[in-house]
């Protein structure tokens, strides 16, 4: 008797002839062996980048925000650009783990663990920017509403900047819980096959004494489902609230109702590109091509072309509204500051248009969707484009505001601003390298769960089932 059935027409999610033990072996083996030379090289470079970032921040904290090239007109520059960019990247992880779970997309099982880890690290990087942008970072706790001796002076609950505080911290907490609750059973698998005392002890602590009891699995399933149900509106709300930072202001180019869906689509777009960048490397280095298959990469490329097209529609809608509203300031922001290639930042706008709207359209071709080297190249292009999007939105809207006497000619970052950004890359990749070394990069239990229906070797046996008469089939499966 087969417990589950899936048509052979669907591409297998796990290639090769696997049984349960082989799945554990393949995914957990990299944790138990010494990492290769590439890992050390990558880790060393990441830590070096992180240290450069720490030094850049040391300059900023010691000498003040004047270390950055912001001025009164361009008050938000690289810092907020990078903040929005990193938060956006985080969104793909939650989309894969939560929304695709609710939509019952089987292919999420191969990529969700790494994508969720990416979410957590990306949100950690994102959080640094607004915190250090405050200037006196040692007073950062002022953003929390707590009874204080200053009145009490409370925070402004009407402000989108405060909504951001709540949104980002909730997002980080919920993502972390979601990720960790999924990790517990897999960490128990590592613990139970550990050969060394230290590994047994450490993985014993982090696996919380998991036994795999049926009752515990039942609760675990309920927990995952409800967390997915909570994370789905949460992920939409987070980038919606980030877009409110702009949309509730009265700056031309920001004050539009299209921002929330446009930002959410852009976030998923850039996030999937980052997942591709990371997983194409991970599957190769950790030898996981049978679990993260071409089918997985193709599915993610389909999401990229869909969200890229939504973003493209949003760009065109913005241009149309700038013309149709007949608002002089809106028109100036769009048709001079952005779309005029000869204006100071015109190159950034057209770079964004090319990277985000034109280039992902190549993914309409199946051959290119399934080409790994090309996908890797495109994933980098998309993230460059999405960085430009945030830069264009922020800087081109504010460098020439309503009062020409306060126009700023040209804003370009200082070395310490760049250093801060480089530092968050260092933080992100340092965390990701450690994750890839010490944690199961693929959800072992979830792969085992889909193995009997979607494994390549198991699907071959479905021939017999597919030849059955309807009555026989119904007799066997209906219960």
């Amino acid at each position: 008797m087969h417990l589950k059935y899936e048509s052979q027409i669907r591409e297998p999610l796990v290639d090769g002839n696997k049984d349960y033990h082989q799945v554990t072996e393949d995914i957990i083996r990299p944790i138990e062996v010494k990492p290769g030379r590439l890992w050390y090289v990558g880790f060393f470079i990441s830590v070096a980048m992180l240290l450069f970032g720490v030094y850049s921040l040391y300059r900023e904290v010691t000498y003040g925000v004047g270390q950055w090239n912001l001025n009164k007109t361009v008050g938000w520059g690289w810092d907020i650009t990078n903040f929005v960019w990193w938060v956006g990247i985080g969104h793909a992880g939650t989309l894969i783990s939560a929304i695709l779970l609710l939509f019952r997309q089987g292919w999420r099982t191969g990529v969700n663990r790494a994508a969720e880890a990416m979410t957590i690290f990306a949100v950690m990087c994102a959080g640094q920017f607004p915190i250090f942008h405050m200037g006196r970072v040692w007073l950062a706790f002022f953003i929390l509403p707590y009874p204080n001796t200053r009145g009490p002076v409370w925070v402004n609950f009407d402000s989108p900047l405060l909504w951001d505080v709540f949104a980002i911290s909730t997002y980080f907490t919920v993502s972390l819980l979601f990720w960790y609750s999924g990790l517990i059973p897999d960490l128990a698998s590592v613990r139970d096959r550990a050969k060394t005392k230290l590994r047994k002890l450490l993985y014993g602590i982090v696996s919380f004494g998991w036994t795999g009891s049926t009752k515990h699995w039942q609760r675990h399933e309920a927990l995952s489902l409800v967390l997915a149900g909570l994370a789905t509106p949460l992920v939409l709300s987070v980038h919606t609230i980030v877009s409110f930072d702009f949309a509730t202001s009265v700056i031309p180019g920001w004050h539009t109702t299209i921002f929330p869906p446009y930002f959410v689509a852009g976030a998923i777009f850039s996030g999937f590109a980052m997942v591709q960048t990371l997983l194409i490397v991970v599957r190769k280095v950790l030898n996981l091509q049978e679990y993260i298959t071409l089918g997985h990469i193709e599915a993610m490329n389909k999401v990229i072309v869909l969200t890229g097209s939504i973003v493209g529609c949003a760009y065109l809608t913005e241009l149309f509204m700038a013309w149709y509203s007949k608002n002089d300031y809106e028109g100036y922001a769009f048709f001079y500051s952005r779309a005029n290639i000869l204006s100071p930042y015109g190159w950034a706008y057209w770079g964004m248009m090319f990277c985000n709207v034109v280039s992902p359209q190549v993914f309409w071709f199946r051959k290119l969707r399934r080409n790994i080297a090309f996908t890797f190249f495109m994933s980098v292009i998309v993230n460059i484009g999405m960085w430009f999007e945030r830069f264009v939105i922020i800087v081109t809207s504010i460098y020439r505001d309503y009062l020409p006497s306060s126009w700023s000619y040209y804003y370009s970052p200082s070395i310490w601003e760049i250093g801060f950004y480089v530092g968050t890359f260092g933080l992100f990749f340092t965390c990701f390298f450690l994750f890839a070394k010490y944690f199961p990069t693929i959800a072992v239990a979830e792969i085992k769960y889909v193995l009997k229906t979607s494994g390549e070797s198991q699907k071959e046996k479905m021939d017999k089932v597919e030849d059955q008469q309807v009555e026989e089939f119904a007799h066997e499966y209906a219960h």
Binding site: H21, P145, F166, S169, L177, I184, A188, G204, S213, K452
Partner: protein
């Protein structure tokens, strides 16, 4: 929780496990639990477990978050320190929605996670009895509780016959509850304790 005696039957295929569960239960034996490497759907019903109420707990935590957010913001802006922010009302419900939503989600998620850990008795440094180390790898491990009247040898033969690939007899603590050890027993002196 006292020490109990178990016959431990290991299966390597869930398609054999299901009929075996049925047979063991029909024969009148009490299955203490089945330990599986991944969630096997329908096994909870086959074992006669009731549905979990974790969802309900999540809902209660959620509405706690909603009321906390609305009442705190309302009290602060209308009672404790009313401020004129651009002439907006002191209780602007639309502007309170984002934070209210975030706190609903936060309370619900955190509360559910801790409730899950509490109900399953999961925490760092917790030591439980593991019937078989491969229960987290590729074996489905069924622990059948023995009473004074159980003939262990008969039961062993019965489960082997039902398709178990490995059968074993163990004495173990039946459960674990935070901060309450059973005084009469020594968890580390058991035949198959794997030592963490």
């Amino acid at each position: 929780m006292a020490l109990k005696r178990y016959v431990v039957a290991c299966f390597d295929d869930e398609e054999v496990l299901f009929p075996a569960v049925k047979r063991v239960r029909n024969a009148g034996y009490k299955i203490q639990d089945v330990y599986t490497p991944f969630p096997v759907h329908g096994l909870d019903h086959a074992l006669g477990m009731r549905e979990t109420s974790l969802h309900t707990a999540g809902f209660i935590y959620g509405i706690t978050g909603t009321t906390t957010a609305l009442s705190c913001m309302g009290w602060i802006f209308t009672q404790d320190w009313p401020m004129n922010i651009g002439g907006k009302p002191n209780f602007p419900l639309p502007a309170f929605i984002p934070i209210t939503f975030e706190l609903t989600v936060l309370f619900s998620a955190v509360g559910m996670f801790y409730t899950f850990c509490y109900l399953c008795q999961l925490a760092p440094f917790v030591k439980k009895h593991h019937f078989h180390p491969r229960a987290t790898d590729d074996l489905f491990v069924m622990a059948i509780e023995c009473t004074d009247r159980t003939n262990v040898e008969d039961l062993k033969a019965f489960v082997s016959n039902a398709g178990a690939v490995e059968v074993d007899y163990q004495v173990a603590e039946s459960g674990w509850w935070f901060g309450r050890y059973d005084k009469q027993q020594d968890l580390y002196a058991e035949p198959h304790s794997i030592g963490y």
